[in-house]
């Protein structure tokens, strides 16, 4: 009950909250997705640019916009750092666990509602595939 990490943010979380990476909009993105809703408190929007090298598709660029608490902003930021430049097939494998590990832990109460970044990215990739199929 008194484990301080159940209620406080790690240095990495604070760092990503205060100095988030890859914030912003990509004009004419290859894929985009919005997850969450303002009633729950957190809304995340991800934009991606995809590049093909040989047979492999890579995340050439990724940007996010987030309305939410410190954890929501930090998880968005770390997610973009983790996946930028990676092949799509590897990027989709990054889930909540990897995000939390990369941030040096998160208070458990924050995991359920604020770690939406993995869903946001997956949906942005689905959006890209849909657009490509058209």
């Amino acid at each position: 009950m008194d484990n301080p990490f159940e209620i406080i943010y790690s240095k990495k979380v604070m760092n990503h909250f205060l100095h988030p990476k890859n914030v912003g909009v990509i004009k004419n993105p290859d894929g985009e997705a919005t997850v969450g809703n303002p009633v729950c408190g957190d809304v995340m929007k991800f934009y991606i640019k995809v590049e093909k090298k040989g047979k492999e598709e890579y995340l050439k660029d990724i940007k996010f916009q987030t309305l939410g608490c410190g954890a929501a902003i930090a998880t968005s930021s770390i997610m973009t750092v983790l996946v930028k430049g990676k092949p799509l097939k590897d990027a989709v494998k990054i889930g909540k666990k990897a995000i939390i590990e990369a941030l040096g832990g998160l208070p458990p109460a924050k995991v359920h509602c604020s770690v939406l970044a993995d869903t946001a990215l997956k949906k942005a990739i689905i959006d890209y595939r849909k657009k490509k199929a058209v």
Binding site: L18, T34, G41, M44, T66, L67, C113
Partner: protein
């Protein structure tokens, strides 16, 4: 980070060095058990009696009417459970004592009452409040029934600072009690009021009043309950019979000394201090309302001197608190993201504020030590913080 601008005094306060000084001898020198008849015990007993006198003086009460507890939460539990338990046998089977309260009480009141409802010991009316957090006296009067035994209303709401008309309610209840077969007892949670407002029990006409030390520059872990002479409550803590049998457990002598000293200090220039703090609050409100998309919560005029509370559109509250904290400014939010149960504040919800708005709530609560320079710094940096977070948010 050198600056520390503490604007979370509604959460807790810094212990006054004079209070610490008064408490210190009771840890290592005068450490006797106040129930013992030796020299050290007597010394402790005298200290407890002296503190009780100070508390009684501030409340305009008799010393025998003051019970020391661990917190306002405990005072409220003792008051409500103790009162209802004592009245149970006055009620026939199938009939339950009725309690009237508001939807914007502290959880200490709401959860205590819900507990008794669940156990079938009481029926409760939760009064609505208007957009500014005030109860309607007509609705209140209509809610009174033959079975009503307790009215419990928060004096100053901790989130929005709205002051309820406690004096009017007390006067009305005193009046109708003259004709009632069964009296209605009146309790107020004065936790946030005690520092700046009139809490003299005979001015308020309350029978029960709860308060805590840590909101008035005493330490955490000490509270008091005022119980008017003749009002019977049943103890909720069984044991050695301290506090006239109402609250067993060895007296926490240093903390009892601390709350007495702190209450005594609140009385010094009370009105002058309240005016000074209210002026700073108004300066802060005026400055913060200059920011686009920001509104005030609570009543503009009927509000406690120390609370300035806002809704900020398009920003989540916890993010604002973290960003302010990085600059050494300590504030608070009622956002769901910062709550243990991840639910939006029940107070803001009761005002009719939808969750997407209450996520952006921001509360500054001033203290006796707050300076104009500190207020001006907040006014200076807050627009930038809000702008940064809004830029980061998606448009939808």
């Amino acid at each position: 980070m050198k600056t520390l601008i503490y604007l979370d005094n509604a959460a807790t306060t810094r212990v006054d060095p004079l209070v610490v000084k008064a408490m210190l001898p009771y840890f290592t020198k005068k450490y006797g058990n106040a129930s013992e008849y030796h020299r050290l015990g007597m010394e402790a007993k005298m200290a407890v009696a002296d503190s009780r006198k100070k508390v009684a003086e501030v409340l305009g009460a008799k010393t025998a009417e003051i019970v020391f507890t661990s917190s306002a939460t405990e005072s409220i539990n003792l008051s409500h459970k103790g009162l209802i338990e004592n009245l149970q046998n006055e009620f026939k089977k199938g009939e339950r004592p009725h309690v009237i309260t508001t939807k914007i009480e502290h959880k200490a009141v709401l959860e205590t009452l819900r507990h008794m409802e669940r156990k079938g010991e009481a029926q409760v009316t939760y009064l609505d409040v208007n957009k500014r957090g005030l109860i309607d006296l007509v609705t209140f009067k209509k809610a009174i029934k033959a079975q009503t035994v307790l009215v419990t209303i928060i004096y100053v709401n901790n989130e929005i600072g709205t002051i309820q008309p406690i004096k009017n309610i007390g006067k009305y209840l005193k009046e109708i009690n003259k004709k009632r077969k069964r009296p209605i007892y009146f309790h107020t949670d004065a936790t946030q009021a005690i520092n700046y407002l009139d809490c003299r029990v005979n001015n308020l006409n309350v029978d029960l009043l709860s308060l805590t030390g840590h909101k008035i520059n005493a330490p955490k872990g000490i509270g008091a309950l005022y119980v008017r002479e003749g009002v019977k409550i049943i103890r909720q803590m069984d044991g050695g019979g301290q506090e006239k049998g109402l609250r067993s457990g060895t007296e926490n002598v240093p903390y009892i000394v601390g709350i007495g000293k702190a209450l005594q200090l609140t009385e010094e220039d009370k009105i002058k201090k309240a005016k000074k703090v209210a002026l700073l609050r108004d300066r802060l409100i005026k400055g913060v309302l200059q920011i686009p998309g920001v509104s005030l919560t609570g009543d503009k005029l009927v509000r406690s001197p120390h609370i300035a509370s806002f809704l900020v559109d398009g920003v989540e509250g916890e993010a604002m608190i973290l960003a302010l904290s990085e600059l050494g400014i300590i504030a608070s939010t009622g956002s769901a993201c910062s709550a243990a149960d991840l639910a939006p504040s029940h107070v803001l919800t009761a005002l009719g504020i939808p969750p997407e708005k209450s996520h952006g709530s921001l509360r500054f609560s001033l203290g006796k030590e707050t300076t104009p320079g500190e207020i001006d710094l907040v006014i200076k940096v807050l627009p930038g913080i809000i702008k940064n977070l809004r830029v980061m948010a998606p448009k939808f």
